[in-house]
């Protein structure tokens, strides 16, 4: 794996390799010293053109746990703010010879462009409304720990699918692992033609009982102003996941941050069926696994300092 740009690029085997790797990092995470020397002397750039809490925090912590040197850039306050193009920013960053660039960008395809314009391994941490592959992987990891296999599992993705990169990546990822996916939401928030990705489409929660897993999406309040739905109250009346709609055997997921009382009612967020805390915890180990798979598992560029470039990477678990 050279880059992680889209779930679409991964087959089931590649996905499982990352999830298995994440399991081994989960084991490291239970130790007192949680740091491993795998990426010592290598540089990871975290380049965020959009605000983010959990994704940027977990990628940055993942890089540090792997002993990489980290450069963290936010669009606000950097030269991007002064009108520098993405291409020029890539050229500038290349001067630091980064091993990996983790990029979040408001527009589709930005990560692919960075991959074209730099030598580094590129991780797409969200490009517009296109893909968010690390979120999909951490969701798979979370579910796999609960359900062992996703084969035949019925997953409903509920909410603003139109504006959600998480919905798109997860739809593809869930199906790649054998799950059956239904997307559900008001017609204006379900992209026309999405059924051609192989999912069912529903505009009502009536059959939600069929779902083994309910994956709710964030509904931004701006959508009301744009008339995608008339009001929060109307939306909640039809599509909010609450304790009345969520059955006791159904699992609940959400990529965060939640609009409490909009897409989810308070009681289901705190219910035992909710996997939301596990999702956040999975985020760290899965992102460690992604960086490991990209930078340490395949053939590497010769490292002068380390001496023998043929030497396999330091096994996980040796403290730095």
């Amino acid at each position: 794996m050279r880059h992680l740009l889209a779930i679409e690029d991964l087959d089931r085997e590649a996905i499982e390799a990352i999830l298995d790797r994440a399991e081994s990092f989960a084991e490291v995470g239970r130790r007192d010293i949680k740091k491993v020397p795998t990426l010592r002397g290598r540089t990871v750039v975290s380049l965020f053109y959009e605000s983010s809490t959990r994704t940027s925090a977990s990628f940055e912590l993942a890089a540090k746990r792997l002993s990489a040197d980290l450069i963290s850039l936010k669009a606000a306050g950097s030269s991007v703010d002064k009108g520098e193009s993405l291409k020029d920013t890539c050229a500038t960053l290349s001067a630091y010879d980064p091993a990996a660039i983790v990029i979040r960008h408001p527009y589709a395809g930005a990560a692919q462009l960075v991959a074209d314009w730099s030598e580094a391994a590129v991780v797409n941490a969200g490009d517009g409304k296109h893909e968010h592959p690390s979120q999909a992987l951490l969701d798979l990891f979370t579910l796999r720990r609960r359900l062992d296999s996703l084969e035949g599992v019925r997953i409903w993705i509920v909410g603003d699918v139109l504006h959600s990169r998480v919905a798109r990546s997860n739809l593809v990822a869930f199906q790649a692992m054998g799950a059956e996916v239904t997307v559900c939401g008001p017609p204006a928030l379900i992209p026309r033609g999405i059924e051609q990705l192989g999912c069912e489409v529903s505009h009502s929660l009536e059959r939600l009982g069929e779902a083994d897993v309910v994956y709710a999406l964030r509904l931004q309040r701006e959508r009301m102003a744009e008339s995608f739905v008339p009001s929060v109250r109307e939306y909640a009346a039809h599509f909010q996941i609450d304790s009345r709609r969520l059955g006791p055997r159904q699992l609940l997921m959400h990529p965060g941050p939640v609009n409490r009382g909009v897409e989810l009612s308070g009681e289901v967020i705190d219910s035992p069926q909710s996997l939301m805390t596990e999702q956040v915890a999975s985020g760290l180990v899965v992102r460690m696994a992604i960086l490991y798979e990209l930078l340490a598992s395949g053939p590497q560029r010769p490292v002068t300092e380390a001496g023998d470039p043929e030497q396999s990477p330091t096994p996980i678990g040796q403290p730095a």
């Binding site: 527009y107 589709a108 409304k129 992209p191 026309r192 990705l197």
Partner: protein, 440 residues
């Protein structure tokens, strides 16, 4: 176009095809003083003429493009009259119509006069100019259409933007009775297009890109056709892209509305599937590439005459406007140099349409603007595209005549190439390798 002598030459043994004039056969095409003097039996004795070995090559009436952007004034870093007209000549065109969405827009008689003067100095094929319908393309007040026509504008268009207000469109069409000049319309309902960047459908759903629905175009065509019919005015619908739009034009024609329309090579050859590459240089334009069903409907419209002509909507952009994520990139692709070759490769060679139909539609854009159709019939001004239908070439391999490189078929391998163009009686273009005598 630039002043100069009319050509004196003979295309020896050319396969001549002018379906409108009913000419088909192998002839020596004799051009004297810039006019087609004779289509003679091959091999006759001729004096004082440049001999061009055209055996195995095709001579067509040169093409006419009613829709190009030459970016002058204001955006000469993308294109100007010289590079744009060279690009046209390289594509076999003997005439082009430049749109008025420049910076500033072409909205006064003086603007038209200045451009016509500049084209006389700098262009290598005749260039006609449209002026905007509304001042500054703001959609609010009409330009001085009468004086602009007197200054030589061939028609009017706010291309790049629709005329939002049906009232303003109606006023322009009423005024057309006084001053003439077809009004060419970019049909799009901005309310329905919203912030869309590609065709709305399964591909936009998969990519998470905001979609422009087909009905954004077809509803405006239906509205404007109704207004034109009511006023008995002439309109020309630009760059049809959707099946619903073809149907709307077909219905308007059947109802007797004076409406003509065009389709672009990229809409006839490729679909929104190409956008999966997220390559805005080649595949981002407005109207967007649509579905295969839309493409088939356009082809059917081309066949049955609903679509009168091919227009490239040649829209040059600088590299930095395209080397950005898809959503941020400028809309538009270039097309003059590749239109014939792309349509020949994608539609004629697979047997989708006849060569004769393509040749007819490639020059069909003159009539809607009251211009004479290029023809190879003896006695007429020489407007000839000499083509090698078997030549294979890779687009962009030898650069472009255009100042910009955003060709929708960049790096594609095409079959069929324009080797030489005569425009308004003069040699406007020769492929370098052909003039050295190494081609064919």
């Amino acid at each position: 176009m630039r002043p100069g002598e009319g050509a004196d030459l003979v295309l020896r043994g050319a396969t001549v095809l002018d379906p409108v004039a009913g000419i088909e056969g192998v002839h020596d095409v004799i051009v004297r003083g810039g006019r087609i003097a004779e289509l003679a039996p091959p091999g006759g004795e001729l004096d004082e003429l440049e001999e061009i070995d055209a055996e195995g090559l095709h001579a067509f009436p040169a093409f006419f493009d009613p829709h190009v952007h030459l970016r002058t004034p204001g955006h000469e870093h993308k294109e100007d009259l010289e590079t744009g007209s060279r690009s046209a000549a390289a594509g076999g065109y003997c005439g082009i119509l430049a749109m008025a969405n420049t910076d500033p827009t072409v909205s006064t008689p003086a603007d038209i006069e200045a451009l016509r003067e500049a084209a006389r100095e700098g262009a290598c094929v005749p260039v006609g100019f449209l002026a905007t319908v509304t001042r500054g393309m703001e959609g609010e007040e009409l330009t001085e259409m009468g004086a602009i026509r007197d200054a030589g504008a061939l028609g009017f268009s706010d291309d790049g933007l629709p005329i939002r207000s049906a009232r303003i469109l109606r006023r322009a069409l009423q005024y057309q009775q006084l001053c003439g000049g077809t009004i060419a319309l970019h049909e799009e309902d901005p309310e329905l297009s919203g912030d869309g960047v590609m065709h709305e459908g399964p591909v936009s759903a998969a990519l998470g890109l905001a979609g422009i629905p087909s009905i954004s175009e077809s509803t405006m065509i239906a509205r404007d056709a109704a207004v034109a019919g009511y006023e008995n005015a002439r309109i020309h619908v630009q760059h049809l892209s959707a099946a619903e739009s073809v149907e709307a034009v077909r219905a308007a024609k059947a109802a007797g509305v004076r409406i003509s329309c065009e389709a672009s090579p990229h809409h006839l050859c490729v679909t929104d599937e190409e956008v999966r590459s997220l390559d805005p240089r080649r595949f981002k334009m407005n109207p967007p590439l649509r579905s295969e069903a839309d493409r088939q409907a356009l082809i059917e419209g081309l066949r049955d005459g609903t679509i009168d002509c091919i227009a490239t909507d040649h829209a040059p952009h600088a590299a930095e406007e395209k080397e950005v994520p898809f959503e941020q990139a400028a809309m538009g692709v270039t097309g003059l140099e590749t239109a014939f070759a792309a349509l020949h490769t994608n539609l004629v060679l697979p047997g989708v349409i006849d060569l004769g139909l393509l040749i007819e539609r490639m020059a069909g854009g003159a009539a809607p603007f009251d211009l004479g159709r290029p023809t190879l019939a003896p006695g007429n001004e020489a407007n000839v595209a000499l083509c090698d239908l078997g030549a294979e070439w890779t687009v962009g391999e030898e650069g472009y005549e255009s100042r910009s490189q955003n060709s929708w078929c960049a790096d594609s391998k095409l079959t069929g190439r324009v080797l030489m163009t005569l425009a308004a009686g003069r040699v406007a273009y020769r492929l370098r390798s052909f003039s050295l005598g190494v081609a064919a």
